[in-house]
Symmetry: C2
Subunit: 372 residues, 2 copies
């Protein structure tokens, strides 16, 4: 999407052989591009969340192997680089998937062929992500247009989103926001209600920033406000991303997504989930109760990070010193509350049959491997 | 309730003729008692939210008239004091109700009788609030005990609450939390999930502090987390307060209450509203769509106030400079989502009939004055 009017990806290779990233820990208060020159730089960028979002982490790890191979293309260096990158975010599925794909491509090659091959393979992973998201965007654009049909000509379609499932979580376009950018770029007036998304405020800090950078009208709200807006007819469609969607259409996403899905159902607002096919977990076809929910640090709840009047990044405590906090990172929105799942192949009903119809080969693989 | 083991109200008259308050703007980081010596001191305390919560504001205004009458008990001074106090929070219903009651008592008296009468009337307003809340607490205690029946012996009943409907919003005991204190003091193990309640964080700052001060086990969560906890069976009952409940049982309360009511319904968790009878609006018997919802400052959304590492109260910005914010202060939970309304006379069904059965004289008055 655009930053200051210029199309920009979240990661790219520079002419002089560095990997350039947008440092997301500085957003929304500063736009900082960092040059990563070693695999250690890349590992640090992932671990410290300078880059985050499952698709972007995968691409960053792939480019990390490219930097490693340019410095030392031996078998030992390749294995060491893989290990260092895999250790950064041990639970991120895309990270392991991207590293496995890179290793399969690079390991059989002679060392002197590895650097160029790594660059080509990393570019391909990044380009594939962009292509998937562009396809999701085209399908979601149609849904946004349809949801806004009740608005008068020139009146913006009202979209509500939770967390950051935008450009910054991917290489470009985002998942849930891909349709918003497609609609906006096609001249459809669209306005986005941005849930701030406590505890880490990815909505207020990242989604608001990237929408603003691309020129999309938007308004930040606290996570408590979305239900009220839906009751009063101020939301036409809810669009969110997903960290993992089961083969039955149950959606694991940022904590609080379930509450918005309940309000959408109660108010008759369509609720769509943008899910690139790599985020669909074909191994879970039954009840999602067993999905482990990551518990994060209590400090994310008891404190808030922002920019003080001086501009300095500052952490302030909002709860009493003696109070405990609990911080589940995700919740599960049952398929019955989901109007549709937007994939790169189109919009599926949130059900086994709906997903299997769009991805018959995946469903068949899962059945063949004995998934109940 | 107790502070450091000592029973404490939120407001009281001192032996030397001052009005003592707990400065709630310093909580949860410091416990500061302020002595108010003039009606201007009281007006400032209300306007700056050193005291807040509808019942407490009413009592504070009553004590403000006492201070005014001790300085100058003339008709002119009485009228001026009333005007100054009424202007502090123009929308607070209890404030006007308390001032009207005080004026009806004081205006007919000779000036030299007014100071003593004002003190007695202010004490009566405070004591009435305590009595109402104690009665609500007894009824809510029974509900909490019943909701916890599925827990094993000694295992705490799990209560979830939103915002601050506790001791600090009243003279003592609170509304939604009155039952928690009653249960705890009676030896029933109880644990409270405290919604932080963005944007002003009354849950994290005030509810967590007062529960901790009284020794009630509690855990702070972000507003996004309650639905997930209910899905996983970690909440036995939801108890919230109300700013205004209609005669039909629709509940106006802090923004986000509606989302928790939806989750409670979806998960089969009872959802109760503690409503002192002065908060029931007998003039609204139809749909609540017309109730105006206060819009508060955007800065409450784009920034967060807390204690920096130095201990200094600091405001940090969490959203980009260019992003707009929208800040509705309340939402409406439809009666159909409310299991019961806990009043000082018992628990009513959330309906015209349910409320009229407990308050037949109020319902009759409303009918007689032509409320449709």
């Amino acid at each position: 999407v655009n930053v200051n009017g210029k199309p920009t990806r979240t990661i790219w290779a520079s002419a002089d052989g560095a990997v350039e990233i947008i440092d997301q820990t500085a957003l929304p208060h500063a736009f900082v591009v960092r040059s990563l020159r070693t695999v250690a730089d890349v590992a640090h960028a992932i671990a410290s969340m300078q880059v985050r979002g499952a698709p972007l982490i995968g691409a960053a790890a792939a480019y990390g192997l490219w930097l490693a191979m340019r410095a030392d293309a031996s078998d030992g260096a390749l294995a060491a680089a893989r290990t260092a990158l895999a250790a950064t975010r041990p639970t991120a599925v895309n990270l392991r998937w991207a590293l496995d794909a890179m290793m399969a491509r690079l390991a059989p090659l002679a060392p002197d062929a590895r650097a160029d091959a790594a660059r080509a393979a990393a570019d391909a992973i990044a380009d594939d992500d962009v292509a998937i998201n562009r396809a999701i965007g085209a399908h979601a654009h149609a849904l946004i247009r349809a949801a806004g049909a009740r608005r008068g000509a020139g009146e913006p379609v009202q979209v509500l989103t939770h967390c950051n499932a935008g450009w910054l979580a991917t290489v470009d376009w985002g998942t849930a926001l891909a349709g918003v950018y497609a609609a906006h770029d096609a001249g459809l007036p669209v306005h986005v209600w941005v849930d701030e998304t406590r505890p880490r405020n990815q909505g207020a800090a990242l989604t608001a920033w990237e929408l603003g950078a691309h020129g999309v009208p938007h308004t930040v709200i606290v996570d408590n406000a979305g239900g009220h807006l839906m009751q009063r007819g101020q939301v036409d469609v809810v669009l969110v991303g997903t960290d993992r969607t089961t083969a039955a259409g149950d959606v694991v996403n940022k904590i609080g997504t379930y509450l918005k899905a309940l309000a959408a159902r109660d108010c008759g607002v369509p609720f769509y989930v943008a899910a690139p096919s790599p985020s669909i977990d074909w191994t879970i076809r039954g009840a999602p109760d067993g999905i482990p929910i990551e518990e994060r640090a209590a400090e994310e709840v008891t404190t808030v990070v922002g920019a003080a009047a001086s501009g300095a990044t500052t952490r302030v405590r909002v709860a009493p010193d003696g109070s405990r906090a609990h911080n589940p990172g995700f919740d599960v929105t049952p398929a019955r509350l989901v109007t549709g799942i937007v994939t790169e192949r189109g919009v599926a009903a949130a059900s086994r049959d709906g997903l299997a119809r769009l991805f018959p080969e995946r469903a068949a693989d899962a059945a063949a491997s004995g998934v109940p």
